[in-house]
Subunit: 216 residues, 2 copies
Amino acid sequence: MSTPPRSRLRATDAQLPPTPAAPAEGTRRRILETALQLFASRGYHDTSIRDLATALELRPSALYAHFAAKDHVLAELVRIGHEAHFEALETAFRDARPTPSAQVQALVHAHTRVHAENPQLAMVVNEEFYALSEELAAPAQVLRDKANAMLLDTIRRGMAQGQFSPLHPEITAAAIVGMGSRIPHWFEPGGPIAVETLADTHAQLALRMLGHTAGT
Amino acid sequence: MSTPPRSRLRATDAQLPPTPAAPAEGTRRRILETALQLFASRGYHDTSIRDLATALELRPSALYAHFAAKDHVLAELVRIGHEAHFEALETAFRDARPTPSAQVQALVHAHTRVHAENPQLAMVVNEEFYALSEELAAPAQVLRDKANAMLLDTIRRGMAQGQFSPLHPEITAAAIVGMGSRIPHWFEPGGPIAVETLADTHAQLALRMLGHTAGT
DNA sequence: TCTTGATAAACGAACGTTCGTTCATGTAGC
DNA sequence: GCTACATGAACGAACGTTCGTTTATCAAGA
């Protein structure tokens, strides 16, 4: 930390989706929430164990009763973030009408919503993922690959059925993912744009990018 | 550095556009190029002065004959990156036919090309910008704001002329910028997709997102 | 009711290492 | 002999982590 630089993300109350591995109460949960806030605003490598302990009003040593090492805290946040993201995509996909355009719309809507509702977690997951060892990153990498495949498969299906005419499926898929990933860098929940507006707009933008024509 | 984690970006030869402040030869230039490579792959905060010196086959103290402090190296890279980016946008805009759609196409093409041709610099500029103090970041921030304004103004002009029907100008502008910013995370120059293909595709995608209809 | 023992959590101090940076000194080329 | 650059040694501070001890909580036995 040293001379505190600018913050990457406005420090609102850190939101962490509930998860079996991190019960809604208790010190472990508090550590994760506070770490999320610090990692999102200053970055993982610029946040020390002492910074984290100070924010928690604990001594550094106390943290080691709950996590084996600093990178395990990050790994847990990254894991939680990927699971919440993947589950949201899966649910949206399952509940959508079984047409490629409805499915793409549902996927992009969910992808956008997750990023807009949990900007801190999205920031940490996207920007600090690389800081984990291959071993600690593995569970998240699996979900990442499956999510990308879900979108690309749906696009390919839409092409086969003549509903989509993308200029280039892979580039378009990357562009769609990219516009979502950037949300935490500019969007503020509670600001002038509603989350629902953003999600709807992104879903429509995705269809436009895919050259979706007529019908459902 | 300690236990080296995974790399954020494949370590190709770091490309740095030539610039008045950093002549094509000399130790200062070598420092910037090597720092660019390390910052892009491991991140600024996880790269130590000793890492940088080792890669340069110099002693840490030697660096201080060329830069006042570690963050000045980053600031210089960020400055160079923003100037190259802004100059590319300005040139593209100036040379485009004076219609909003041609101008948006030119802006997005240039934006994409800069990110695809210099992925390391784009990565550092986008991901480590926040690590700079407000003072050191200021020159870059000015260019950042001007570039965003250039795109949004053009979009608004296109709307006024009835050429664009975006769902939401600000969201669409952010989405267009976002798909460019994410390029260094997945695109590999020299890979299966040519830079020119990517730039053309992104330019067309932007027009689709804006609901561009007919004509030029 | 009082005592006891077990358990979990936090503390306080210290560890060895690495951090960014300084500075007196050396050296090569003009 | 001046300038530009590199060196080696050292600085205090901060780093992640360990460990022995203390404190808080609570159930079981007398």
